[in-house]
Symmetry: C2
Subunit: 246 residues, 2 copies
Amino acid sequence: MQFTSEQRLDDGVIERGFILGEIPGILWMTTSASASAPAPLILLGHPTLGLSKMYPRLVARARHAAAEGFATATIELPGSGDRPRRAAAARAHADLRREMEANEPVSDEIVDALVLPLVDEAVPEWQAALDALLSLPEIGGPVGYSGGVISIGIRLAVVEPRIAAAVLFAGSFVPRVMFEEARQVTIPLHVLLQWDDEGNDRQAALDLFDAFGSKEKSLHANMGGHAGVPQFAGDVAAQFFDRHLK
Amino acid sequence: MQFTSEQRLDDGVIERGFILGEIPGILWMTTSASASAPAPLILLGHPTLGLSKMYPRLVARARHAAAEGFATATIELPGSGDRPRRAAAARAHADLRREMEANEPVSDEIVDALVLPLVDEAVPEWQAALDALLSLPEIGGPVGYSGGVISIGIRLAVVEPRIAAAVLFAGSFVPRVMFEEARQVTIPLHVLLQWDDEGNDRQAALDLFDAFGSKEKSLHANMGGHAGVPQFAGDVAAQFFDRHLK
């Protein structure tokens, strides 16, 4: 991991760009004097729109977490931002668009083609980022994962023992096989659901919540569409990480 | 309303018993010096087990609320505790027991007979209690309603404009007609659901949440049975009242 940029934001948060192999990423930490012990880390997941497009929402989440004493980090997803496009993903997206324009229900095959290769590629990258981040003296465990493509969060929760708690956003297509992986999740989960999410199947989200194997899991459903998660729901999610990562 | 007893609990909370006509009730308030302004009030709902049986849980909720600056009050439900038994309710309970012992699904008729007369009798009593409580100089508005028989909470939210926000517990039988009343609710709602509540129909609870007309409503589902609401869920509900009653 090589740091490529550093800037101090106006509220005393240091933002450092880095590159890990060919994957760009960002690390945020508070500079406050009280943060002399290694900070617990939250990995910030995001959809496949690219880091620069997602930056405003990511930096808002990072600042919020920094105020609570957390370091946060994120990396670009495979095929997003400036990373090379994945031809199979482009085909799956074109198929998805066609089905949605025809008002057809999205088929399991297209959901699988969209999501499963992305999960297979992304998860080892997030694990490599975790190796690099946890080797920094200013970052400690335990680690949380928050948001983004929910299937990436599920897989990480199953395969990565350093992740101790996760906030998942039930707002994207979930392949049927991921329901089986969900049963293997045992870490505490805080699941956000936008009740009127236009791009989300509410019943599938409830079924997925039911499937998680975790003994502590809670579902927080709020009104509004995909991007309308209210501020207070973010505060409650922050308290969840406070309970489990400190 | 006549006060019948007064005691100071060890954390500086004053508990006063009262009688309103023939209905016993309890009022809790903090004695802390910072509470010189009239305190916002939360009405504490409860199931039909009687105030003395529910006392340990009620006083715990009252202390929690008092620490946040809220006054809390509750009254005995019709037919509960030392109040005269209601013959129709006893018949409905016997019918319910018979159906449950026979492992039959509980019929709509029995749910209606159990709940609707209770709502019709209880709601004007809670409103009368509200009149009396709000006439005390140390208590101000706005008022919240929390927990208990959810149909009483729904009716109060519809007919009582002084109630500004409600925490509802999706854990009891709900007559079909109450779904229509739920559509008329417009105040902010915070709905708690125990995901594995043995006595509760989860799908009916989700349908009821969907029916509420409120623009701000959120559903908080946690693991465990009827009485297993985790402490952190209570904290989040307290924050909801903080946002809406202060």
